[in-house]
């Protein structure tokens, strides 16, 4: 009889610039089965240096992502939804073992992730038509307003739902042409790294989405102070993080938005765009 096969267990790492590097500090944390407490996997504990690297990756990807045709951004997000749909089984298994929800609820969450991405993919080529405007002015100017991406956006994902919360917080940011650095749930980070694998195999350019796992509290202060992060979307619903962020951005005036990431609202796109108004002289 052949010997029993040794299972190959996954050690999840970070997702930075399209690659899966180990945490710079070499630290790892342990994820456990929600119900039994059994060891599931090790995952990387990001430090502020990993955050710095992720911001650098997001910055270098931002210009090209913003310059891509809106329809292309939409297609790429749709493609990411396809990848998530294709990973239904493994994602649902991770969600249900780590967060303790039923298999059916986990599958419904994965389906909602894919649907949410498809919803926002559809927004890509409608943002400037819906939120922009042509303005009536008293002088002889053609005056119009267009939304432009804010830049590099840091996102704090909530603990529950661990996958949909991340997608819900990230999708409205991405579609407008921002690049993101996400810090996944403290309690249930494995689903986020499954999503990272889906993103890595979609057509999202490297650096557009970067995902860190670890302890949010170590990173929130730097998120607030880092001058190359242009905005923060906090969906963690944690009063301590909220205070840290509010105090931290007092010196640099970056935008901070606190959001319930489970809702699906196109107007969330407005949180991370800047309205540019152009006065174009015309002569009659």
């Amino acid at each position: 009889m052949p010997p029993a096969r040794l299972r190959i267990l996954k050690t999840s790492k970070l997702f930075i610039g399209g690659k899966f590097p180990r945490a710079e500090s070499g630290r790892v944390l342990t994820a456990v089965d929600f119900l039994t407490g059994a060891h599931l996997a090790h995952y990387g504990q990001a430090s502020i240096k990993d955050l710095r690297d992720a911001v650098a990756a997001a910055r270098s990807a931002q210009r090209a992502w913003a310059a891509a045709a809106p329809s292309l951004r939409g297609q790429i997000l749709y493609r990411a939804a396809e990848m998530i749909e294709g990973r239904m089984a493994s994602l649902a298994a991770v969600i249900s073992t780590t967060t303790g929800v039923t298999a059916a609820a986990a599958e419904a969450e994965v389906a909602a992730c894919a649907d949410r991405l498809v919803h926002f993919a559809g927004w890509a080529d409608k943002i400037s038509a819906v939120f922009g405007s042509v303005n009536q002015v008293a002088t002889s100017h053609f005056n119009f307003t267009v939304p432009e991406p804010t830049g590099v956006v840091a996102v704090l994902a909530p603990d529950r739902p661990s996958a949909l919360g991340l997608i819900g917080a990230v999708a409205p940011v991405l579609v407008a042409g921002n690049t993101v650095v996400v810090v996944a749930s403290d309690a249930f980070p494995l689903a986020a790294m499954e999503l990272a694998e889906a993103f890595a195999t979609s057509d999202l350019p490297a650096g557009v989405v970067n995902i860190l796992t670890g302890k949010r509290a170590e990173l929130v202060g730097t998120m607030a102070s880092h001058l190359d992060i242009n905005a923060v979307v906090d969906a963690s619903d944690d009063p301590t993080h909220r205070t840290t962020l509010r105090l931290g951005v007092a010196g640099n005036l970056k935008r901070v938005h606190f959001r319930d990431a489970t809702r699906e609202a196109g107007t969330d796109i407005l949180d991370t765009v800047e309205m540019k108004t152009v006065w174009h002289p015309v002569s009659w």
Binding site: R59, T222, S225, H226, L227, N252
Partner: protein, 311 residues
Amino acid sequence: MKPRAASALASASAPALSGRRVAVDQTGLEERARYFQTRSLKHEAKREGLRLAVSMMDLTTLEGADTPGKVAAVCQKAMHPMADRYDCPAVAAVCVYPSLVSTARRCLAGSGVRVASVATGFPSGQFPLALRLEDVRRAVGDGADEIDMVINRGAFLAGEFRRVFDEIGLVRERCGAACLKVILETGELGSFGSVRQASDLALQAGADFIKTSTGKVTPAATLPVTLVMLGAIRDHHEATGRMAGMKPAGGLRTSREALAYLVAVNETLGEAWLTPQWFRFGASSLLTDVTWQLAKCHDGVYQSADYFSLP
């Protein structure tokens, strides 16, 4: 072959001309270079290292599209790399094409920042000797304090060492009081052995500095190649008592690399070389990264390009 003995012999009378080569241990060299890059300088040591790196910088602009306006902007940045509260020194020199030397001279007047000019048919060096020498004469006449010449790589690779040696000597004469930096363009020399040979040759021909690259060829400055050249400078100093400077140039972008070079210089040549008189960085975008890091040290927060002048 014993490297020391060989180079001592070489310096007796144009020894490199004999084609005698000092063996270079490539594996050991790369391992040593790797080791320098594993060190991490922190806090006050990092801040001092970064300040030193700025003071050793030859801020360079060598584009076909250079205008007097661009050179004026570079000169301004050279004199005042950062706001006063960061306590950042001025750079060592501004390096430009010969036609822009007088502009740079005017912009830098009274600042203590020196004007360096590339010359001798930069970057190829493939021009008649008379033209290359005229290039040097005019750059010096226009007020260049330092001349960065390129060696005739075609001649070197063809084995015409005597010719390369003589040409460097002629340029040395035309420089007068100006400091002569000899660019070996190591990316085109093919091997560490050739780099060492070209270094010995340039040092014996009277170079004040030896410099890795023009910045127009890849690979440009690397730490292993710099170590070979530092070794040549050390041996030359031991044999003749004459100090010479080192200038890695091209491809240097990050503070981390710059600090690794400083460590390498200190460990190979010693502290006496850790001054702008004997060590320079040839770079354009490196200054931006160093100023970011200095600002990070000072303010304690990660910086953004939005708050820094363009390179």
